[in-house]
């Protein structure tokens, strides 16, 4: 399975995106700390409401066949 993933289009797409991000991060003018006012907004966080995000993850995990996110995972559940 992992061979399929690593040989597949998705890995190529991920690699291109990561390289693009890396090159972009080097090529563009850095955003200075005093220019990050908009980025610091509450609604610009990856998960603005962690409790709600946790409940969303838990619900979808319980009712769908696959999952995965960026970050450490918790334990499973006996969800039906």
């Amino acid at each position: 399975m992992l061979n399929d993933f690593f040989n597949g289009k998705m890995l190529r797409a991920a690699t291109v995106l990561i390289l693009f991000a890396s090159l972009g991060g080097c090529a563009t003018t850095p955003v200075q700390p005093w220019e990050r006012g908009r980025l610091a907004r509450w609604d610009m966080r990856w998960d603005p409401d962690p409790l709600q995000a946790a409940m969303n993850d838990h619900t979808h995990f319980s009712k769908e066949g696959s999952n995965g996110h960026i970050g450490a995972a918790g334990g499973g559940c006996g969800c039906n």
Partner: protein, 382 residues
């Protein structure tokens, strides 16, 4: 599988957000209500799951460069769930439900400690424990974020979970009595500050599960017999995620776009698209409409029922392993008054085999649709 919340130190990529700014006490109450089974033929109680959840969280800075986050969740579950699928006289699958006697509760405790909360990155140590009458899970995790330059932040980490399964009424229904499974997970991510208004994050997560991965409560029709749900005792999976955030000055809003591709050794392949619009309104109101689309292709050993017992090593008619798609829409509203924030929202989730990308070959009579509502209260400590 892992249940849960991501414990990522927030916003390292965006800014040097101080731990003090995140200090808050929060409460959420939610009601999750599944639709009755319809319109296909079924047998048993059509009233499906209902879950009432209470969540509490305390997040606070500790000293000048650390943060503590503790949370507790208590859920009460009741209703019936899909048990097995029987072939009807006309060949159509008939979903057989369990009785509506399931009543259980789940309590989860979770804590994390982040050392390093400024722009130089940090490390988060996390632990959680979840207990149900028939299921106990203990998990630990560690993750580290470090800036590579002014625009890029690298994140990586891993977690491990040990789960114990002890089904109720095991002797009466010939279920396994005591089983366990272990799950290991590693991930890496890269966050990129594109410009003053937008950020992008991409990452990969790899999971490996070993142990009892079947559902002890579900049966499968195999030929003329009813057998226990039987799945491989290992499962490896990989997921690739992309998240994009863009802030608008006018209108005062933020756009969230997320995509996830996931694939596992059982043959399940899924795509998830999410979009949300965080619209700020006068008088410190905020409106957040959201849309989500999910599509998965079935596991190799899924079928509503199996005609030939000799043709399969594994078999499951669990709807969660079938081919289906789901569309959900949500609407949340927030209001800030001083140090208090009130919130509420509703999500409508509808799934069907017709929604799957590429269509479905096999029937999945147990697919679930639900409505969820929540209310919340936050108090900002500083």
């Amino acid at each position: 599988m892992s249940a849960a919340a991501t414990l990522v130190p927030e916003a390292h990529a965006q800014t040097a957000t101080s731990a003090e700014a995140d200090a808050h006490v929060s409460y959420r109450f939610s009601e999750y209500d599944e639709d009755s089974l319809a319109p296909g033929p079924y047998f048993g109680d059509a009233q499906r799951y209902r879950v009432l959840s209470h969540q509490f969280q305390l997040a606070t800075g500790v000293g000048s460069d650390a943060a503590l986050n503790v949370s507790a969740t208590h859920e009460v579950m009741s209703g019936s769930s899909p048990w097995y699928v029987a072939p009807g006289l006309d060949g159509r699958p008939i979903q057989v439900m369990s009785g509506a006697t399931i009543r259980d509760h789940r309590t989860e405790l979770r804590g994390s400690w982040t050392q390093g909360t400024g722009s130089s990155g940090g490390t988060t140590y996390s632990a959680s424990y979840s207990a149900e009458r028939d299921y106990h899970a203990t998990a630990v995790g560690i993750e580290h974020s470090m800036p590579l330059n002014a625009a890029l932040t690298l994140g990586f980490g891993g977690s491990f979970s040990h789960d114990l399964i002890s089904p109720t009424d095991a002797v009466q229904f010939h279920r396994v009595q005591h089983e366990e499974k272990n799950t290991g997970s590693v991930f890496g991510s890269l966050a990129w500050i594109i410009d003053r208004s937008s950020v992008l994050q991409t990452g990969v997560q790899l999971n490996s599960e070993h142990g009892f991965l079947s559902d002890p409560y579900k049966l499968v029709t195999v030929g003329d017999e009813l057998l226990s749900d039987l799945r491989p005792d290992t499962r490896t999976s990989a997921a690739w995620l992309v998240r994009y955030r863009h802030a608008f000055a006018s209108p005062d809003a933020a756009l969230h776009l997320d995509y996830r591709y996931a694939q596992d050794s059982w043959g399940v392949v899924s795509h998830t698209f999410e979009a949300a619009w965080y619209q700020s309104l006068p008088s410190r109101w905020e409106l957040v409409p959201g849309l989500r689309y999910y599509s998965q292709q079935q596991a190799r050993f899924y079928a509503p029922f199996f005609a030939d017992p000799a043709a399969h090593n594994f078999y499951s008619s669990d709807y969660r392993l079938g081919t289906f798609g789901a569309i959900s829409a949500s609407l949340n509203l927030r209001k800030r008054i001083g140090s208090w924030e009130f919130s509420g929202g509703v999500e409508r989730y509808h799934s069907a085999t017709d929604y799957a990308l590429g269509g479905a070959d096999a029937a999945v009579p147990g697919v679930v649709s639900y409505t969820r509502v929540f209310i919340g209260l936050d108090y900002l400590l500083r």
